[in-house]
Amino acid sequence: MSKRKPYVKPMPANWFMANRFHTLYMLREGTSIFVGLYSLIMLWGLAALVKGEAAWNNWLGHMENPIYIGFHLIALVACLYHAITWFSLAPKAMHLQKGDQKISDKPVVVGHYIVFVIATIVILGFVAWGGAA
């Protein structure tokens, strides 16, 4: 057995609460819980769709439950926070060059927001104008 007794800096499980940057990091990671749960809710809806019209309408009925509406409101905020952080990180993840220079972060981030707005309008418009029919 070693006689060495090195100092190990203690690290409590709530380490991220001490620093705002770390808190926001954990908040960002936490948004994934809502993203995952929403995937499960969509899978549930898809299963209902396969079963038939009665099961589909039953699923729609569950979605009208105030608990589900409340969940989806929180999930929407969480998902939007994820989107904001994702767009802010985009220029770090994709290295776009113009000549020898890396292009600045701003046009890349702005481009993402423009695509986000277009995508949202297209999806909403598709459902609103009965595009699914």
């Binding site: 954990m26 994934s32 995952g36 995937s39 898809l46 029919a133």
Partner: protein, 120 residues
């Protein structure tokens, strides 16, 4: 086996990170609108998702690909983040089990979604 006698294992992280990235893109661009529609506007009666329309959409091959993408990729994204957040929360017991658990869950959800879409 290499010349030095060591066994090198190819890391599986790029696969999971790729799925995480794809899920992050879908969750950022498409999921907010989808939550707004299925979770808020349809339940409040502002928009409709009637069976015939949704069934027609899911019967089309392009519709199937879109539905699989919006269900499966965000699940991989979420499971990857939750798995790594466990380490951040100092929960480091049974890493191998939890890796199998979280990525296994994303895998099962993907297969289930694919099977349902084929069934329509």
């Amino acid at each position: 086996m290499s010349k030095s006698g060591k066994t090198y294992h190819r890391a599986d992280e790029p696969i999971f990170w790729g799925l995480f990235g794809a899920g992050g893109v879908v969750a950022a661009f498409a999921t907010p609108a989808l939550i707004l529609i299925t979770g808020i506007l349809v339940p409040l009666g502002v928009l409709q998702l009637d069976y015939a329309s949704v069934n027609a959409f899911a019967s089309n091959w392009l519709g199937k690909i879109i539905l699989l993408a919006v269900i499966a990729f965000p699940m991989w994204h979420a499971c990857h983040r939750i798995f790594h957040a466990m380490h951040d929360l100092k929960i480091d017991t049974a890493r191998g089990f939890f890796k199998l658990f979280w990525y296994g869950m994303a895998f099962v959800v993907s297969i289930a979604a694919g099977a349902y879409l084929i069934a329509i």
